[in-house]
Amino acid sequence: MGSIPVSLHVVLMKGCNLLDNRLEKILPLVQKPARYIGGELNSAVKDKNSVDIRYAFCFPDSYEIGMSHLGIKILYSIANDRPDTWCERVFAPWPDMEEKMREEGIPLYALESGDPIKDFDFIGFTLQYEMCYTNVLNMLDLAGLPVRSADRKSLSPIVMGGGPCVCNPEPMADFFDLFSLGEGEEVNSEIMDLYKIHKAKGSSKDEFLREAAKIPGVYVPSLYDITYNGDGTVKEVKPKDGAPEKVVKRVISDLDKVSYPKSFVVPFIDVVHDRVTHEIFRGCIRGCRFCQAGFIYRPIREKQPDTINEQCKELIKNTGYDEISLCSLSSSDYTRIEELLTKLLEWTPKENVNIALPSLRIDNFPEELMQKLLSVRRSGLTFAPEAGTQRMRDVINKNITEDEILSTSRTAFAGGYSAVKLYFMIGLPTETDEDVEGIGILAKKVVDEFYACPDRPKGRGVTVGASASSFVPKPFTPFQWEPQATPDELKAKQEHLKATVPSKKISLAFHDIPTSFLEGVLARGDRRLADAIELAWRRGCRFDSWGELFKFDVWQQVFAELNIDPAFYANRRRSFDEVLPWDHIDFGVTKSFLMREAKKAYEAKTTPHCRIQCAGCGSNKLNGGKCECLK
């Protein structure tokens, strides 16, 4: 019998940060258990007895996706800056974990405390894309709560939603108590302040919600009655109990004054975007007509280079990350990009920190600056011409010419690149076979550009990846009235492109058609879709955005059983005078502006970007009439 020669001078840890026994039993059995343990660096740990408000910030997708999202980091830090509040993170457990949790009777818990979220004051979801809706229901159910707002009678938890999808929250209206429209930095705190008063008074949920509806930017769906016409369209949306006719989204007036996180929670496992992310401005000047983000985040507001630089320094110090990603809808439209990069490049190389600049437009980026960036690290080269012909690009107002695409490719090839990715869409309004063929032709011209370039990388061939996604019309865009191309039409377009692509150097990629179709249904849906979402979830649908888990056949059965025609939502042309399900929601851009843009699209007329000429979108009213483009 041998002895153990290693001295046991290290004290074995007991209790403190060990997990619940039931969790210890299941964690060794699931994939990537570090997603479910909490305890990451910089996570907020507080004493639950010293706070008034417990807030569960839920991201209805996997940990890897949710931990990559900037909005959650911002709102998490602002909520935790309040001494009276403890905000914790919750993500959707992957199906293997869900199964084990249900077997063991472990309810959905928050990562920081491990406490069940059922007893929290707020459960907040961010709705980033439509395909996460079934996950919201699943998370509420895993928490042990009824999924419908009407069945949750007590004041707490208040289930609230935010994010871009709440510009048309109607399909999810029955599941939420309230929605917070627009930017959440200020309004979330106002909601919490009001809640504290009502909790102390012992108010009912209805009493609280009626008062909450008076806060600008707060939409309480139960305070609106919807009636429908015989043809299925919305007849009227009627507010009650003093709720406003229109709920206007909130914006932050001055980005330099609003709080930005001083540290990020640093995940243990590799997540999608694992780095310091810094938002350099909000809004977009471009007005590409297919792009919802380009309209719903208006008006334009920029952050000062000094503010960004100082905040980046602090974040790098507190996280140990070695990359900064400057994020916005179109980085090179930031008016002070050169000044900012110069400041950042003063200290980042010697600290071995890279700078990533996604969403660069190719038409206005100085070459010298490009060289500077590349000297730190070379990333992939991706262009988004979005459409194959100039006519089509004019329709969608993507103000980019073929010459610009080709000349930038030429520069890139001469600089050593041999792979280019091109992003396109198919199924755009007015699209013809010729426009679809144009995708292959344009990609071929990029290939030819490579072989015509005397300084191209020697001994290597070129690869041009052309990805064609299916266009999904979205609310608050000039195409919100358009029919989405039907699945059959999209299939034919994909086949046509495959058949006409002129070079083997081009690799084509497409989006899954059923996914785009369901996205189209949910994006412009109304409250009657709640039954379908609930039934699909009860039949096992979740993680619908994950190809391997998407069960389109179940969705189809559900629509048929409930007598809902999904094509009514996805593939129907709306008239300009139809009452849209989201007409009582105001995201700044006016309906008349969107109509003007739609009509110009049919004429293939472009609209110059906001710094050349104001197009009168109306979003400046959100910021007291101010717009930084109007200087």
Partner: protein, 217 residues
Amino acid sequence: MFEVRLWLSKQGRIKYVSHLDMFRLMQRAVRRAEIPLWYTEGFNPHPYISFLLALSLGTEGLREPVDIRIVDDMTPEEIKNRLNGAMPEGLKIEAVTTPVYKPAAIAFGSYRVYYGGVTESELFDALTCGELTCEKSGKKGNKKIVKTVNVSEHIKSFEIRAEDGKTVLDVVLPAGSVFNLNPQQLTCAVSARLGRDITAQRVIRLGLLTDENKPFE
């Protein structure tokens, strides 16, 4: 350039962070601690950090060696304090030393396992039966193969006792770059022998040993 050996303890829920993720975690911790790390040269410079022996997912460790290289001399005390100020919960630098042995000198791991569902005598009988076997997957060339290993031959030494209703096993098993046997495999073998599943509720690697049964330093 200076070689420095860190002795890391990993306890509690952080045991679910994998070997691969630990590398990235340490990289960030040394950056936060502003340790003057030596970076590899070349196209994609990265700091030199080496975990000498992987710890299985779910196993805690009390004294895990991690080698780093620094460019400026810094006292062990300073390195330890800086790093401990930058570590996430559950990780602690217990000591900082100059390496004595080369990594290849690691020959054994000493483990403590807390078992449920097995008595002291059942466990003793199983470990001394002489024909305890488990299946171990490995590679032969590019092919994946499953080998049957006689565990009994490889148990260097062990001790069993009871504590708070649990059966506690201290055991020394082969570890290192040549041949490894971990407590999970031992547990499988015992389960197979007994014809029922026993559970290792907590597994801790106490330390590493050399060929001559001396502490790896």
